[in-house]
Protein backbone atom coordinates (compact mmCIF):
# COMPACT_ATOMS: atom_id res chain seq x y z
CA UNK A 1 0.00 0.00 0.00
CA UNK A 2 3.02 2.30 0.37
CA UNK A 3 2.98 2.96 -3.35
CA UNK A 4 -0.60 4.12 -3.25
CA UNK A 5 -0.18 6.43 -0.29
CA UNK A 6 2.80 7.93 -2.13
CA UNK A 7 0.48 8.51 -5.07
CA UNK A 8 -1.89 10.39 -2.81
CA UNK A 9 0.97 12.71 -1.84
CA UNK A 10 1.96 13.11 -5.50
CA UNK A 11 -1.61 13.97 -6.44
CA UNK A 12 -1.67 16.68 -3.77
CA UNK A 13 1.62 18.08 -5.07
CA UNK A 14 0.39 18.23 -8.66
CA UNK A 15 -2.97 19.73 -7.70
CA UNK A 16 -1.07 22.28 -5.59
CA UNK A 17 1.09 23.17 -8.58
CA UNK A 18 -2.00 23.51 -10.79
CA UNK A 19 -3.75 25.75 -8.25
CA UNK A 20 -0.62 27.90 -7.87
CA UNK A 21 -0.40 28.36 -11.62
CA UNK A 22 -4.11 29.11 -11.84
CA UNK A 23 -3.83 31.78 -9.14
CA UNK A 24 -0.69 33.26 -10.72
CA UNK A 25 -2.57 33.25 -13.99
CA UNK A 26 -5.36 35.27 -12.43
CA UNK A 27 -3.10 37.67 -10.53
CA UNK A 28 -0.32 38.48 -12.98
CA UNK A 29 -0.77 40.35 -16.21
CA UNK A 30 -2.83 43.38 -17.14
CA UNK A 31 -6.61 43.26 -17.09
CA UNK A 32 -8.31 45.58 -19.49
CA UNK A 33 -10.85 43.60 -21.46
CA UNK A 34 -12.71 45.21 -24.33
CA UNK A 35 -15.52 44.07 -26.57
CA UNK A 36 -13.24 43.77 -29.60
CA UNK A 37 -10.52 41.93 -27.69
CA UNK A 38 -12.84 39.27 -26.33
CA UNK A 39 -14.27 38.52 -29.76
CA UNK A 40 -13.61 34.84 -30.61
CA UNK A 41 -10.79 34.50 -33.14
CA UNK A 42 -12.09 34.04 -36.67
CA UNK A 43 -9.12 35.28 -38.75
CA UNK A 44 -10.18 38.91 -38.26
CA UNK A 45 -13.77 38.38 -39.28
CA UNK A 46 -16.79 38.69 -37.06
CA UNK A 47 -17.91 35.17 -36.20
CA UNK A 48 -20.45 34.14 -38.83
CA UNK A 49 -21.51 30.69 -37.66
CA UNK A 50 -21.77 29.71 -34.04
CA UNK A 51 -19.56 26.77 -33.05
CA UNK A 52 -22.50 25.30 -31.19
CA UNK A 53 -23.55 22.97 -33.95
CA UNK A 54 -23.80 19.25 -34.55
CA UNK A 55 -21.24 16.95 -36.00
CA UNK A 56 -21.06 13.75 -37.94
CA UNK A 57 -22.25 10.61 -36.22
CA UNK A 58 -18.84 9.14 -37.17
CA UNK A 59 -17.33 10.53 -34.00
CA UNK A 60 -19.83 8.75 -31.77
CA UNK A 61 -19.27 5.54 -33.70
CA UNK A 62 -15.53 5.79 -33.17
CA UNK A 63 -16.08 6.38 -29.45
CA UNK A 64 -18.28 3.27 -29.16
CA UNK A 65 -15.82 1.09 -31.06
CA UNK A 66 -13.04 2.52 -28.90
CA UNK A 67 -14.83 1.37 -25.74
CA UNK A 68 -15.19 -2.14 -27.19
CA UNK A 69 -11.50 -2.40 -28.04
CA UNK A 70 -10.46 -0.81 -24.75
CA UNK A 71 -12.31 -3.60 -22.95
CA UNK A 72 -10.61 -6.10 -25.23
CA UNK A 73 -7.21 -4.76 -24.14
CA UNK A 74 -8.30 -4.95 -20.52
CA UNK A 75 -8.96 -8.67 -21.00
CA UNK A 76 -5.73 -9.16 -22.92
CA UNK A 77 -3.46 -7.70 -20.26
CA UNK A 78 -4.06 -10.23 -17.43
CA UNK A 79 -3.87 -12.99 -20.03
CA UNK A 80 -0.52 -11.66 -21.28
CA UNK A 81 0.87 -11.45 -17.75
CA UNK A 82 -0.22 -15.01 -16.95
CA UNK A 83 0.64 -16.52 -20.34
CA UNK A 84 4.11 -17.75 -19.34
CA UNK A 85 2.63 -19.34 -16.24
CA UNK A 86 -0.08 -21.08 -18.28
CA UNK A 87 2.60 -22.47 -20.60
CA UNK A 88 4.28 -24.23 -17.68
CA UNK A 89 1.10 -26.20 -17.03
CA UNK A 90 0.71 -29.00 -19.56
CA UNK A 91 -3.09 -29.11 -19.44
CA UNK A 92 -3.49 -25.36 -19.91
CA UNK A 93 -0.78 -24.42 -22.42
CA UNK A 94 -2.70 -24.98 -25.65
CA UNK A 95 -6.03 -23.99 -24.12
CA UNK A 96 -4.63 -20.63 -22.96
CA UNK A 97 -3.65 -19.78 -26.51
CA UNK A 98 -6.87 -21.07 -28.03
CA UNK A 99 -9.16 -19.20 -25.67
CA UNK A 100 -7.53 -15.90 -26.59
CA UNK A 101 -7.53 -16.86 -30.28
CA UNK A 102 -11.30 -17.37 -30.12
CA UNK A 103 -11.80 -14.14 -28.17
CA UNK A 104 -9.72 -12.08 -30.59
CA UNK A 105 -11.29 -13.90 -33.54
CA UNK A 106 -14.81 -12.90 -32.52
CA UNK A 107 -13.72 -9.31 -31.95
CA UNK A 108 -11.81 -9.34 -35.22
CA UNK A 109 -15.10 -10.29 -36.85
CA UNK A 110 -16.60 -7.17 -35.28
CA UNK A 111 -13.77 -5.01 -36.63
CA UNK A 112 -14.18 -6.57 -40.07
CA UNK A 113 -17.91 -5.87 -40.03
CA UNK A 114 -17.32 -2.28 -38.95
CA UNK A 115 -14.73 -1.89 -41.70
CA UNK A 116 -17.00 -3.45 -44.32
CA UNK A 117 -19.89 -1.17 -43.40
CA UNK A 118 -17.55 1.77 -44.05
CA UNK A 119 -17.42 2.81 -40.42
CA UNK A 120 -13.71 3.56 -40.80
CA UNK A 121 -14.00 5.78 -43.86
CA UNK A 122 -13.54 9.50 -43.28
CA UNK A 123 -14.63 10.98 -46.60
Amino acid sequence: MDGYSALLVVTFLVVGLAVTMLVLNLLLGPKNPSAIKSEPFECGQVQITSPRQRFSVKFYLIAIVFIVFDIEVVFLIPWAVLYRWFLTQPSWAVLAFTEMLVFLGILGLGLAYFWKRRGLEWD
Binding site: V9, G29, K31, S38, I62, V81, Y83, R84, F97, W122
Partner: protein, 351 residues
Amino acid sequence: MTAQVVEALVHAAIKFAILVPGFVLALAALMSWIERRQSAMIQDRVGPNRASIGGVRAWGLFHIIADTLKFALKENIVPRGSNPLLFRLAPFMAMAPALIVFAVMPVGPTNRWVVSNLDVGILFIFAIGSLSVYGATIAGWSSNNNFSLLGALRVSAQMISYEVSLALNLVGVFMVFGSINLQTIIEGQGALLGGVLPKWGIVVQPVAFFLFLAASIAETKRTPFDAPEGEPELVSGYFTEYSGLALATWFLTEFAAVIMVAMMATAVFFGGWQIPWLPPTPALVATWWFQIACVMAFFAKTLFFVWVQMQLRWTLLRMRYDQIMTMGWKYILPISLANVLVTGLFLLLTR
Protein backbone atom coordinates in the same frame (compact mmCIF):
# COMPACT_ATOMS: atom_id res chain seq x y z
CA MET B 1 -0.01 6.96 11.66
CA THR B 2 3.47 5.83 12.51
CA ALA B 3 6.63 7.82 12.01
CA GLN B 4 7.75 5.27 9.41
CA VAL B 5 4.76 5.97 7.18
CA VAL B 6 5.27 9.71 7.46
CA GLU B 7 8.93 9.29 6.54
CA ALA B 8 8.02 7.21 3.48
CA LEU B 9 5.53 9.81 2.35
CA VAL B 10 8.01 12.65 2.82
CA HIS B 11 10.57 10.67 0.81
CA ALA B 12 8.02 10.17 -1.98
CA ALA B 13 7.24 13.88 -2.02
CA ILE B 14 10.93 14.79 -2.19
CA LYS B 15 11.61 12.29 -4.98
CA PHE B 16 8.67 13.54 -7.01
CA ALA B 17 9.73 17.14 -6.41
CA ILE B 18 13.19 16.31 -7.75
CA LEU B 19 12.01 14.26 -10.72
CA VAL B 20 9.24 16.45 -12.05
CA PRO B 21 10.30 20.09 -11.58
CA GLY B 22 13.99 19.15 -11.63
CA PHE B 23 14.00 17.01 -14.75
CA VAL B 24 10.69 17.03 -16.57
CA LEU B 25 9.77 20.69 -16.29
CA ALA B 26 13.35 21.86 -16.75
CA LEU B 27 13.72 19.72 -19.85
CA ALA B 28 10.33 20.95 -21.11
CA ALA B 29 11.55 24.54 -20.81
CA LEU B 30 14.76 23.65 -22.59
CA MET B 31 12.79 21.88 -25.30
CA SER B 32 10.87 25.05 -26.14
CA TRP B 33 14.24 26.59 -27.01
CA ILE B 34 15.67 23.50 -28.71
CA GLU B 35 12.62 23.15 -30.89
CA ARG B 36 12.95 26.67 -32.29
CA ARG B 37 16.71 26.50 -32.69
CA GLN B 38 16.45 23.15 -34.41
CA SER B 39 13.75 24.32 -36.79
CA ALA B 40 15.98 27.30 -37.59
CA MET B 41 18.93 25.03 -38.32
CA ILE B 42 16.88 22.77 -40.56
CA GLN B 43 15.32 25.71 -42.41
CA ASP B 44 18.70 27.45 -42.75
CA ARG B 45 17.86 30.37 -40.49
CA VAL B 46 19.57 31.73 -37.38
CA GLY B 47 16.71 31.28 -34.95
CA PRO B 48 16.22 32.99 -31.59
CA ASN B 49 19.59 34.24 -30.30
CA ARG B 50 19.01 37.84 -29.24
CA ALA B 51 18.12 37.52 -25.55
CA SER B 52 21.15 38.50 -23.51
CA ILE B 53 22.04 39.16 -19.91
CA GLY B 54 24.84 41.72 -19.62
CA GLY B 55 25.88 41.17 -23.22
CA VAL B 56 26.17 37.38 -22.83
CA ARG B 57 23.99 35.68 -25.40
CA ALA B 58 24.77 31.97 -24.79
CA TRP B 59 23.22 30.87 -28.11
CA GLY B 60 19.91 32.41 -27.12
CA LEU B 61 19.47 30.21 -24.06
CA PHE B 62 18.14 33.20 -22.13
CA HIS B 63 15.08 33.11 -24.37
CA ILE B 64 13.74 30.50 -21.96
CA ILE B 65 13.70 33.08 -19.14
CA ALA B 66 12.40 35.80 -21.43
CA ASP B 67 9.58 33.58 -22.69
CA THR B 68 8.52 32.54 -19.20
CA LEU B 69 8.35 36.17 -18.07
CA LYS B 70 6.42 37.18 -21.16
CA PHE B 71 3.93 34.34 -20.80
CA ALA B 72 3.36 35.24 -17.15
CA LEU B 73 2.89 38.96 -17.76
CA LYS B 74 0.49 38.77 -20.71
CA GLU B 75 -3.21 39.41 -20.38
CA ASN B 76 -5.51 36.45 -20.15
CA ILE B 77 -8.29 36.91 -22.66
CA VAL B 78 -11.48 34.96 -22.12
CA PRO B 79 -13.48 35.01 -25.36
CA ARG B 80 -17.05 36.23 -25.53
CA GLY B 81 -19.68 33.54 -25.26
CA SER B 82 -17.27 31.05 -23.72
CA ASN B 83 -17.70 29.20 -20.46
CA PRO B 84 -15.15 31.04 -18.26
CA LEU B 85 -14.92 28.42 -15.51
CA LEU B 86 -14.23 25.49 -17.83
CA PHE B 87 -12.08 27.67 -20.09
CA ARG B 88 -9.75 28.57 -17.22
CA LEU B 89 -9.70 25.09 -15.68
CA ALA B 90 -9.12 23.08 -18.87
CA PRO B 91 -5.32 23.53 -19.23
CA PHE B 92 -4.79 22.35 -15.68
CA MET B 93 -7.11 19.39 -16.20
CA ALA B 94 -4.75 18.40 -19.00
CA MET B 95 -1.56 19.16 -17.07
CA ALA B 96 -2.32 17.23 -13.86
CA PRO B 97 -2.54 13.71 -15.40
CA ALA B 98 0.46 14.42 -17.63
CA LEU B 99 2.61 15.05 -14.54
CA ILE B 100 1.17 12.45 -12.14
CA VAL B 101 2.15 9.55 -14.42
CA PHE B 102 5.86 10.25 -13.81
CA ALA B 103 5.41 8.93 -10.26
CA VAL B 104 5.54 5.27 -11.35
CA MET B 105 8.60 5.54 -13.61
CA PRO B 106 11.64 3.71 -12.16
CA VAL B 107 14.76 5.63 -13.15
CA GLY B 108 17.23 3.43 -11.27
CA PRO B 109 17.84 -0.14 -10.09
CA THR B 110 16.34 -0.12 -6.58
CA ASN B 111 13.13 1.10 -5.03
CA ARG B 112 15.02 4.19 -3.97
CA TRP B 113 14.84 5.43 -7.56
CA VAL B 114 11.10 5.28 -8.05
CA VAL B 115 8.51 7.48 -6.38
CA SER B 116 5.83 4.79 -6.25
CA ASN B 117 6.58 1.24 -7.36
CA LEU B 118 3.08 0.00 -8.19
CA ASP B 119 2.27 -3.61 -9.03
CA VAL B 120 -0.01 -2.32 -11.80
CA GLY B 121 2.75 -0.02 -13.16
CA ILE B 122 2.10 0.57 -16.84
CA LEU B 123 -1.65 0.15 -16.50
CA PHE B 124 -1.62 3.10 -14.10
CA ILE B 125 0.08 5.22 -16.76
CA PHE B 126 -2.63 4.24 -19.24
CA ALA B 127 -5.45 4.83 -16.77
CA ILE B 128 -4.31 8.30 -15.74
CA GLY B 129 -3.22 9.10 -19.30
CA SER B 130 -6.71 8.29 -20.54
CA LEU B 131 -7.99 11.15 -18.38
CA SER B 132 -5.87 13.69 -20.24
CA VAL B 133 -8.25 13.67 -23.21
CA TYR B 134 -10.82 15.67 -21.24
CA GLY B 135 -8.60 18.73 -20.85
CA ALA B 136 -8.21 19.24 -24.61
CA THR B 137 -11.83 18.40 -25.37
CA ILE B 138 -13.23 20.74 -22.74
CA ALA B 139 -10.80 23.51 -23.76
CA GLY B 140 -11.97 23.42 -27.35
CA TRP B 141 -15.62 23.14 -26.46
CA SER B 142 -15.64 25.95 -23.90
CA SER B 143 -13.82 28.46 -26.17
CA ASN B 144 -16.83 29.33 -28.36
CA ASN B 145 -14.53 29.28 -31.36
CA ASN B 146 -15.00 27.26 -34.53
CA PHE B 147 -11.33 26.34 -34.86
CA SER B 148 -11.15 25.30 -31.22
CA LEU B 149 -14.20 23.09 -31.48
CA LEU B 150 -12.95 21.36 -34.62
CA GLY B 151 -9.57 20.88 -32.93
CA ALA B 152 -11.23 19.41 -29.83
CA LEU B 153 -13.27 17.06 -31.97
CA ARG B 154 -10.21 15.88 -33.85
CA VAL B 155 -8.01 15.58 -30.78
CA SER B 156 -10.46 13.49 -28.80
CA ALA B 157 -11.19 11.11 -31.67
CA GLN B 158 -7.47 10.79 -32.45
CA MET B 159 -6.41 10.24 -28.85
CA ILE B 160 -8.96 7.52 -28.17
CA SER B 161 -8.17 5.81 -31.48
CA TYR B 162 -4.49 5.52 -30.73
CA GLU B 163 -4.90 4.71 -27.05
CA VAL B 164 -6.01 1.18 -27.96
CA SER B 165 -3.06 0.58 -30.30
CA LEU B 166 -0.67 1.98 -27.70
CA ALA B 167 -1.78 -0.53 -25.08
CA LEU B 168 -1.99 -3.40 -27.58
CA ASN B 169 1.62 -2.93 -28.63
CA LEU B 170 2.81 -3.36 -25.07
CA VAL B 171 0.84 -6.60 -24.60
CA GLY B 172 3.53 -8.51 -26.50
CA VAL B 173 6.16 -7.19 -24.08
CA PHE B 174 4.00 -8.16 -21.10
CA MET B 175 3.82 -11.69 -22.51
CA VAL B 176 7.58 -11.97 -22.84
CA PHE B 177 8.40 -10.61 -19.39
CA GLY B 178 5.24 -11.83 -17.64
CA SER B 179 4.57 -8.62 -15.71
CA ILE B 180 3.12 -5.15 -15.98
CA ASN B 181 5.33 -3.76 -13.23
CA LEU B 182 7.85 -1.45 -14.86
CA GLN B 183 10.69 -2.39 -12.50
CA THR B 184 10.18 -6.12 -13.21
CA ILE B 185 10.09 -5.49 -16.97
CA ILE B 186 13.34 -3.51 -16.82
CA GLU B 187 15.01 -6.16 -14.67
CA GLY B 188 13.89 -8.80 -17.17
CA GLN B 189 15.70 -6.89 -19.90
CA GLY B 190 19.07 -7.35 -18.20
CA ALA B 191 19.55 -10.90 -19.51
CA LEU B 192 21.60 -11.65 -22.61
CA LEU B 193 20.11 -13.57 -25.54
CA GLY B 194 22.58 -16.24 -26.66
CA GLY B 195 25.22 -14.52 -24.55
CA VAL B 196 25.58 -11.56 -26.94
CA LEU B 197 22.39 -9.63 -27.56
CA PRO B 198 20.79 -7.75 -24.64
CA LYS B 199 17.24 -9.02 -24.14
CA TRP B 200 15.77 -5.56 -24.67
CA GLY B 201 12.17 -5.01 -25.67
CA ILE B 202 13.16 -3.91 -29.14
CA VAL B 203 15.03 -7.18 -29.70
CA VAL B 204 12.18 -9.44 -28.61
CA GLN B 205 9.34 -7.25 -29.98
CA PRO B 206 10.71 -5.25 -32.93
CA VAL B 207 7.36 -4.76 -34.69
CA ALA B 208 5.68 -3.61 -31.52
CA PHE B 209 8.38 -0.99 -30.93
CA PHE B 210 7.86 0.86 -34.19
CA LEU B 211 4.07 0.70 -33.92
CA PHE B 212 4.33 1.87 -30.31
CA LEU B 213 6.46 4.84 -31.30
CA ALA B 214 4.02 5.82 -34.06
CA ALA B 215 0.98 5.41 -31.81
CA SER B 216 2.55 7.32 -28.94
CA ILE B 217 3.55 10.24 -31.15
CA ALA B 218 -0.05 10.32 -32.36
CA GLU B 219 -1.12 10.31 -28.72
CA THR B 220 1.03 13.38 -28.00
CA LYS B 221 -0.43 15.11 -31.09
CA ARG B 222 2.92 15.98 -32.64
CA THR B 223 3.96 16.01 -36.28
CA PRO B 224 3.20 14.01 -38.42
CA PHE B 225 -0.01 13.48 -36.45
CA ASP B 226 -0.73 17.08 -35.47
CA ALA B 227 -3.89 17.62 -37.50
CA PRO B 228 -5.78 18.70 -34.32
CA GLU B 229 -3.55 21.76 -34.04
CA GLY B 230 -2.34 22.11 -37.62
CA GLU B 231 -1.64 25.78 -38.36
CA PRO B 232 -2.84 25.92 -41.99
CA GLU B 233 -6.21 24.44 -41.17
CA LEU B 234 -7.12 25.21 -37.58
CA VAL B 235 -4.85 28.10 -36.44
CA SER B 236 -3.81 26.38 -33.19
CA GLY B 237 -6.60 23.86 -32.81
CA TYR B 238 -8.16 23.46 -29.42
CA PHE B 239 -5.95 26.07 -27.70
CA THR B 240 -6.46 28.86 -30.26
CA GLU B 241 -8.10 31.20 -27.74
CA TYR B 242 -5.53 30.76 -24.95
CA SER B 243 -3.02 33.37 -23.91
CA GLY B 244 -0.63 34.03 -21.06
CA LEU B 245 0.27 31.33 -18.54
CA ALA B 246 -2.64 29.19 -19.69
CA LEU B 247 -1.06 28.95 -23.15
CA ALA B 248 2.29 28.12 -21.54
CA THR B 249 0.54 25.32 -19.65
CA TRP B 250 -0.55 23.76 -22.95
CA PHE B 251 3.03 23.74 -24.21
CA LEU B 252 4.25 22.37 -20.90
CA THR B 253 1.69 19.56 -21.09
CA GLU B 254 2.73 18.67 -24.61
CA PHE B 255 6.43 18.58 -23.74
CA ALA B 256 5.74 16.56 -20.59
CA ALA B 257 3.87 14.04 -22.76
CA VAL B 258 6.85 13.89 -25.14
CA ILE B 259 9.18 13.15 -22.22
CA MET B 260 6.77 10.50 -20.92
CA VAL B 261 6.73 8.80 -24.33
CA ALA B 262 10.53 8.86 -24.36
CA MET B 263 10.66 7.34 -20.86
CA MET B 264 8.12 4.64 -21.79
CA ALA B 265 10.06 3.73 -24.92
CA THR B 266 13.24 3.61 -22.84
CA ALA B 267 11.78 1.57 -20.01
CA VAL B 268 9.86 -0.96 -22.08
CA PHE B 269 11.90 -1.31 -25.26
CA PHE B 270 15.41 -0.08 -24.49
CA GLY B 271 16.25 -1.68 -21.19
CA GLY B 272 15.39 1.24 -18.92
CA TRP B 273 18.32 1.86 -16.60
CA GLN B 274 20.17 -1.26 -17.80
CA ILE B 275 23.67 -0.66 -19.10
CA PRO B 276 24.20 -3.09 -21.98
CA TRP B 277 26.58 -6.00 -21.30
CA LEU B 278 26.88 -5.01 -17.66
CA PRO B 279 24.42 -7.30 -15.84
CA PRO B 280 23.25 -5.80 -12.53
CA THR B 281 24.43 -8.37 -10.00
CA PRO B 282 23.28 -7.79 -6.40
CA ALA B 283 26.81 -6.80 -5.41
CA LEU B 284 26.99 -4.19 -8.15
CA VAL B 285 23.52 -2.83 -7.44
CA ALA B 286 24.51 -2.26 -3.82
CA THR B 287 27.23 0.20 -4.82
CA TRP B 288 26.28 3.84 -5.19
CA TRP B 289 28.37 4.50 -8.31
CA PHE B 290 26.61 1.74 -10.22
CA GLN B 291 23.22 3.15 -9.26
CA ILE B 292 24.27 6.61 -10.42
CA ALA B 293 25.57 5.13 -13.68
CA CYS B 294 22.24 3.36 -14.23
CA VAL B 295 20.28 6.55 -13.62
CA MET B 296 22.55 8.37 -16.06
CA ALA B 297 21.94 5.61 -18.61
CA PHE B 298 18.19 5.98 -18.17
CA PHE B 299 18.26 9.72 -18.68
CA ALA B 300 20.64 9.43 -21.65
CA LYS B 301 18.25 7.03 -23.36
CA THR B 302 15.32 9.29 -22.53
CA LEU B 303 17.12 12.28 -24.05
CA PHE B 304 17.80 10.23 -27.15
CA PHE B 305 14.09 9.53 -27.65
CA VAL B 306 13.20 13.15 -26.99
CA TRP B 307 15.68 14.06 -29.71
CA VAL B 308 14.16 11.48 -32.07
CA GLN B 309 10.72 13.02 -31.59
CA MET B 310 12.02 16.55 -32.17
CA GLN B 311 13.86 15.43 -35.26
CA LEU B 312 10.73 13.73 -36.60
CA ARG B 313 8.77 16.94 -36.24
CA TRP B 314 10.98 18.76 -38.74
CA THR B 315 11.54 15.76 -41.00
CA LEU B 316 8.07 14.45 -41.76
CA LEU B 317 5.08 16.12 -43.35
CA ARG B 318 1.75 16.55 -41.61
CA MET B 319 -0.74 13.82 -42.44
CA ARG B 320 -4.30 14.57 -43.42
CA TYR B 321 -6.83 13.86 -40.70
CA ASP B 322 -8.54 11.00 -42.54
CA GLN B 323 -5.11 9.47 -43.17
CA ILE B 324 -4.34 9.60 -39.45
CA MET B 325 -7.56 7.83 -38.53
CA THR B 326 -7.18 5.29 -41.35
CA MET B 327 -3.64 4.52 -40.26
CA GLY B 328 -4.70 3.99 -36.65
CA TRP B 329 -7.65 1.72 -37.28
CA LYS B 330 -6.79 -0.07 -40.52
CA TYR B 331 -3.07 -0.60 -40.14
CA ILE B 332 -1.70 -0.19 -36.63
CA LEU B 333 -4.59 -1.90 -34.80
CA PRO B 334 -4.79 -5.09 -36.94
CA ILE B 335 -1.00 -5.42 -37.11
CA SER B 336 -0.65 -5.13 -33.34
CA LEU B 337 -3.40 -7.73 -32.85
CA ALA B 338 -1.55 -10.05 -35.21
CA ASN B 339 1.68 -9.31 -33.32
CA VAL B 340 0.10 -10.46 -30.05
CA LEU B 341 -1.10 -13.71 -31.61
CA VAL B 342 2.23 -14.39 -33.33
CA THR B 343 4.06 -13.78 -30.05
CA GLY B 344 1.67 -16.14 -28.29
CA LEU B 345 2.14 -18.84 -30.92
CA PHE B 346 5.92 -18.45 -30.82
CA LEU B 347 6.03 -18.76 -27.03
CA LEU B 348 3.70 -21.77 -27.23
CA LEU B 349 5.85 -23.58 -29.80
CA THR B 350 9.17 -22.85 -28.06
CA ARG B 351 8.00 -23.55 -24.53
